[in-house]
Amino acid sequence: MKRSGLKAFLYLLPALIFLAVFLVYPLIDVLIYSFEEGYSSAAQSFSGIGWYNFDYVLHDPYFTQALINTFILVLITVPVSTGFALLIAFALTRITKLRSLFETVFFLPYVTNTLAVGMVFMVLFKTTPYSEGFVNMLMGMVGLGPVDFIEGPYWAKMFVLCFYTIWIVLPFKILILTSALASVNPQYAQAARIDGASSWRIFTKITLPLISPSVFYLIITGFIGAFKAYSDAVALFGTSLNSAGMNTLVGYVFDMLYREGGGYPSYASAAAILLFLIILTITVINLLYSRKHVHYS
């Protein structure tokens, strides 16, 4: 028995080392950092223990801006992308011809590099005195614009960010919902149809409750993912997100840590912990809500 314990330990050892150094220790350390006041990277010393870092972050206008941006992004992209994915997944179940072609096409954004394709979106949405840009050309045809979506007004920049985020997250949601819909037994719908129920009624009263665990899973992961948005914003607006007024919470953390104005691991840690607390709260609310509305068979 003792030998087998040693053997198991040896099998686990590599994973344990990696986890201890790069996950468990950092987790403890980030808490410590966040309470060390006046920490200096160069001297590796600090002047006191307390709430100052949190206080500083919460009163930093850049943090407030990042908080507002992130909340707007979350509140728009999560419902829109989940609803739209549901619509598309449902449409996919109604066709047989070309279905796998559509599924393949819809999945493409999942395997693309966020930074690289974001640059294409930037080109499409940008307008300059020399070049109108594709989206502005379309808008011109119906008499709108011109609007510079990349360096123009706030709502325009927020629109592109939301649009690109939705474009990026849809493949995952469509895939999950398509496989959920495929596992619904068609006999329920057939029985309801014989009883004279309308398609809409069948969808809301039978199909949707049956796939509600998947929808709920997507809402939870969607919230978490959207709160951690960052790369898409960099792809569209560049790395100076603070000056573009388009920073996100995760972006704020990394700017504090490293980029212009960086070198403040304590502020970064405090901001990261605040972000974690926000995500935790939202997830707990989601879980409590799901108890009432999700039907697990």
């Binding site: 053997k7 099998y11 990696f18 598309i88 493409l108 395997v111 690289a116 109108e132 995952f172």
Partner: protein, 274 residues
């Protein structure tokens, strides 16, 4: 039952176009000449004078080949290490008996919920203290751990019947041999899935490399493309930029088209991007 469904088709076709259009646009722009592109105020949806000069520029003006090689090396080593370490741990959890196994496994699952953003701050400090900034090893080490993949592999390993294990034991097969000669081949679909998911993750990694490298010699493609956007090609040479974007996007799209079934079923089981 046989009805035409115009709205369904319209919806599917419109979104398919919205997905494909950016890919079309990057290809189209990448074969437009610099002068021709800048001369058009209203974007042209077609070009009569395709050129490959942008692709030449992408490999000569900026170090695109190096970014690609770096990313390839990073992806292969990180994925290889991750798969090896995870298989060992998953085997211990699925097959071996030891004290505190359940507690340890629960602890692993709890750690799965820790967002990467929280630990990256200290990892940045650690790697900086170890003088591993701008090194491949500094890029690779913190990217290896993935508890979720250990969990997926364990679930798969646990389904291999006990009788196989005892039969192998009676034949005098060691645990090590059993793991690599019997267990891994039986669970090949899961191992392939985990590998592919990690490859996609590595190829598109941006945040960690952007923190840990500022020397273009060690850039991965994501940082390379960001660098190109901010200072490459002199005056905003959009066609050359798009050529670089095409080159960077192709490997994963090819991988996807080849392993379409595995990737989609793998993501349905274990993907988390969203």
């Amino acid at each position: 039952m046989k009805k035409h469904r115009p709205f369904t088709w319209l919806l599917l076709i419109v979104w398919a176009l919205a997905v494909l259009f950016p890919f079309y646009w990057m290809l189209l722009t990448s074969i437009k000449g610099y002068a021709a592109y800048n001369a058009e105020y209203t974007p042209q949806l077609w070009t009569l004078h395709p050129t490959l000069e942008n692709y030449v520029l992408a490999f000569t003006e900026v170090d695109l080949a190096r970014y690609l090689l770096n990313t390839l090396f990073f992806t292969v080593v990180t994925t290889g290490l991750m798969v090896f370490v995870s298989i060992l741990a998953a085997f211990a959890f699925a097959r071996l008996e030891f004290k505190g196994k359940n507690i340890l496994f629960t602890l692993f699952l709890a750690l799965m919920m820790i967002p990467n953003e929280l630990v990256i701050i200290t990892n940045f400090q650690t790697i900086t203290e170890w003088n591993m900034r701008n090194t491949m090893i500094g890029l690779i080490l913190p990217s290896v751990t993935s508890i979720f993949y250990i969990y997926l592999l364990r679930e798969s390993f646990a389904q291999v019947p006990d009788s196989l294990y005892y039969a192998a034991k009676i034949d005098g097969t060691s645990d090590w041999r059993f793991l690599w000669k019997i267990m891994v081949p039986i669970c090949r679909p899961t191992v392939v899935t985990v590998t592919i998911l990690k490859v996609i993750e590595c190829w598109n990694l941006y945040i960690w490399p952007s923190l840990i490298t500022d020397d273009p010699k060690y850039f991965l493609v994501s940082n390379g493309i960001q660098q190109i956007r901010e200072s490459g090609f002199g005056r905003a040479n959009i066609p050359a930029m798009m050529a670089a974007v095409v080159v960077i996007s192709i490997p994963l799209i090819v991988l996807f088209l080849v392993y379409r079934k595995q990737i989609m079923s793998g993501v349905a089981r274990g993907g988390t991007k969203g």
